[in-house]
């Protein structure tokens, strides 16, 4: 699905990712944890195609194509999805029109005609149920005036609409109360399938109680310094990151 090899990236001359390696196979759920400033969100942004970052080296293969060679739109259409840590408000663009443009972009990529209005609305209804997204929110401007929880639910709703091959969740648990966390996690779990992979970026083990990962990686100073099973997350929760940092330096 995804093969990252020695990826180096920087922003404004400062190096953030310093040779990152990661392989995700179809159907797997990987979690990336790490202290603040270790490069977690940079990784998400670089993979999604944010142009503020410079790629200084390395390769990223996404289902046999060079991911770094595609722009953000092409990556999304090829099946990559990023759930934003801070979903963007777009006043004046209704959520539903926004998604229709997105769905039709993907369909165009697949050589399909634009979706019919009726089919689209049916699809919206189904997918919104998954994350208990209020009908009112569908017609409001994208994320405008949404609560923190509503924004994150909207991210998962969008993910469900676009049915990506690889979904990156960038600190989706931040700003969520327990109920919202449950709803969002259930939405994600309902989408788990043998041919869909997830990369879950989080600070806290808590999210991983709900979305149980196959692998946990620890990112420190732009590199993955340790990988393990889901029990590694529990160990981090208990011991913090310092012991790993020290072992890495040593």
């Amino acid at each position: 699905m995804l093969k990252i090899n020695e990826l180096q990236a920087s922003i404004d001359e400062s190096k953030i990712l310093k040779g990152l390696n990661l392989t995700i196979n179809p159907g797997e759920v990987h979690a990336i944890m790490g202290p603040n400033g270790s490069g977690k969100s940079t990784l998400a942004s670089v993979l999604a195609g944010r142009e503020d970052y410079g790629i200084d080296g390395g390769t990223v293969d996404f289902n046999g194509t060079d991911l770094l060679d595609m722009d953000a739109t092409e990556r999304a259409r090829a099946g990559l999805f990023l759930a934003f840590q801070y979903p963007v408000e777009i006043p004046g663009v209704s959520n539903i029109n926004f998604m229709r443009a997105a769905v039709n972009g993907k369909r165009e990529h697949e050589g399909l005609d634009p979706i019919k209005g009726k089919d689209f609305l049916q699809m919206v209804k189904e997918k919104a149920k998954l994350v208990e997204l209020d009908g009112r929110l569908r017609n409001r401007s994208v994320n405008e005036g949404f609560s923190g929880g509503e924004k994150k639910r909207n991210e998962i709703f969008q993910m469900a609409m676009l049915e990506p091959k690889l979904a990156i969740l960038d600190e989706t648990d931040s700003g969520l109360d327990i109920d919202a966390l449950r709803v969002v996690s259930e939405g994600v779990n309902a989408m788990r399938s043998p041919d869909r992979s997830f990369l879950v970026i989080t600070h806290y083990q808590r999210l991983l109680d709900y979305i149980v990962p196959d692998f946990v990686h620890v990112l420190v100073d732009g590199r993955i310094v340790r990988s393990g099973g889901k029990e590694l997350a529990l160990e981090l929760e208990e011991r913090g990151y310092d012991w790993i940092k020290q072992e890495t330096v040593a």
Binding site: A48, A72, A76, R77, F84, I90, K118
Partner: protein
């Protein structure tokens, strides 16, 4: 107490100096027109000579280059809409009364004049001269050279009289079409709408791809007590047309006037819109959008003159400037000493879609009353990159994402257009001009 009959500081001043070389060009231009126009009114000669021909040192024309006006002028070929290959109704299927003008001449066969109790509507050339609104010192012809030029040469336009308590059943569409090379079209619309009436007008300007020349329009509207008048103005002129337009709107007590100015296309456009609010409880609404592409110039000057107490005005102009285009916005709001309890709002927001585009924006509020609420805001910015990235990360193409943001940006002004058919056609034409596919992509549009 201020004597309103006397020109005040806030009246359009004519103190600006004349610029000798420009003045000469203007005079030569008038002479050339004199030679080819069928009619001319000598009564305007004196005011024409006294006014400065616009140049950069006249404050109101500082950002508005007029040099291209002095190109050679030719007499207009008399032509019907059919001969010009122009669809009389620019909005397919739009159910409206219609006055069609081609190169400044009325085309009776293409028109469909209102037949309605209480309404007199005819081409200006057929109207009795003595019934026209009297010339007074506040009208644009007394202050602006281009308007005085219109006063001298305009012989055609719409003459409209609406008796009190009349609700016109359909909008009146005035369609002007320019075609061919080098002529200047003058139109003058004279509207008097009496009390308790309702009228919707649409002014639509088009031009053929090969059109070269100029259009000069003056619209005077006198709006009676508790009367509601809207004017949706759409400028969609191909070719190389210079378009200057003056609207002189006078409002009586409790009236409401809406003017929406949409510039879809135009090589050189100057709109000069003035509201004089003479009666308490009146509301003026003026909104506009302009989206010039590379090489286009669009200028909107507005004046709202609050002369009496308890009135409101609301103004919202939005511009998106592409390529090497230039925009101008100047919004003047006067609140005279007697205009207490005025509530005036002005907003002008602009997006520079290219780093080579230029926008000159200037709010001008002159407030002489102390118990008023006046607010204004003016911004010049760029596309929201975060929003663009967000949309792209969902698989929306960059251009489609920009179109989406544009639609959102100008949406509130589009929604405010008085006539829904006009809004739909404007959206359609904007999408066509800018090659936006996403534009009409709305689930509600499908059955």
């Amino acid at each position: 107490m201020m004597d309103l009959a006397k020109p005040q500081v806030m009246d359009r001043a004519t103190q600006s100096v004349q610029h000798a070389a420009t003045q000469e060009r203007g005079v030569a231009f008038v002479d050339a027109l004199d030679g080819i126009m069928g009619s001319a009114r000598a009564t305007y000669d004196e005011v024409l000579a006294s006014l400065p021909v616009p140049h950069r040192r006249v404050e109101r024309w500082k950002y508005t280059p007029v040099a291209s006006w002095w190109n050679e002028v030719k007499s207009a070929e008399p032509m019907t809409a059919a001969e010009a290959g122009c669809e009389p109704n620019p909005i397919p299927g739009f159910d409206a009364y219609r006055l069609v003008f081609v190169n400044g001449s009325f085309d009776a066969a293409a028109s469909d004049l209102p037949v309605h109790p209480g309404v007199i509507c005819m081409p200006l050339s057929q109207a009795p001269v003595e019934s026209l609104q009297s010339i007074d010192q506040h009208q644009p012809e007394q202050a602006e050279w281009f308007a005085a030029l219109n006063g001298k040469f305009a012989s055609e336009g719409m003459y409209l009289r609406v008796e009190k308590n009349t609700i016109l059943d359909r909008p009146i569409l005035i369609h002007h079409h320019s075609t061919g090379g080098g002529s200047v079209s003058f139109l003058r619309h004279d509207l008097v709408i009496e009390a308790n009436s309702q009228v919707q007008c649409v002014q639509w300007s088009t031009a053929s791809d090969d059109a070269v020349g100029a259009v000069n329009v003056v619209t005077r509207a006198s709006i009676g007590e508790n009367t509601r008048v809207s004017l949706d103005k759409v400028q969609d002129e191909a070719g190389q047309i210079k378009h200057v337009a003056f609207e002189d709107i006078r409002q009586d007590r409790g009236s409401r006037a809406d003017v929406h100015t949409v510039t879809i296309r135009g090589q050189w456009v100057r709109n000069d819109l003035a509201f004089r609010i003479n009666g308490e409880g009146a509301h003026a609404e003026l909104n506009g959008i302009f989206l010039p592409l590379d090489g286009e110039f669009v200028d909107n000057h507005t004046t709202v003159d609050h002369r009496v107490a308890h009135c409101t005005s609301s103004e919202n102009y939005k511009g998106i400037l592409y390529g090497k285009s230039t925009g101008v916005f100047n919004g003047k709001v006067f609140v005279r000493p007697d205009a207490q309890q005025t509530n005036a709002y002005q907003q002008n927001a602009n997006i520079l879609a290219s780093d080579q585009a230029t926008m000159n924006a200037k709010p001008e509020l002159e407030i002489y009353a102390d118990d008023v609420k006046c607010s204004h805001g003016c911004t010049i910015g760029q596309f929201d990159n975060e929003a663009l990235f967000y949309a792209r990360s969902r698989g929306v193409g960059l251009e489609a994402a920009k179109a989406m943001l544009v639609h959102a940006f100008i949406g509130e002004v589009l929604q405010g257009l008085a006539v829904p058919e006009v809004r739909l056609e404007v959206e359609h034409r904007l999408a066509e001009k800018h090659q936006w596919e996403i534009w009409s992509d709305h689930p509600d549009n499908e059955s």
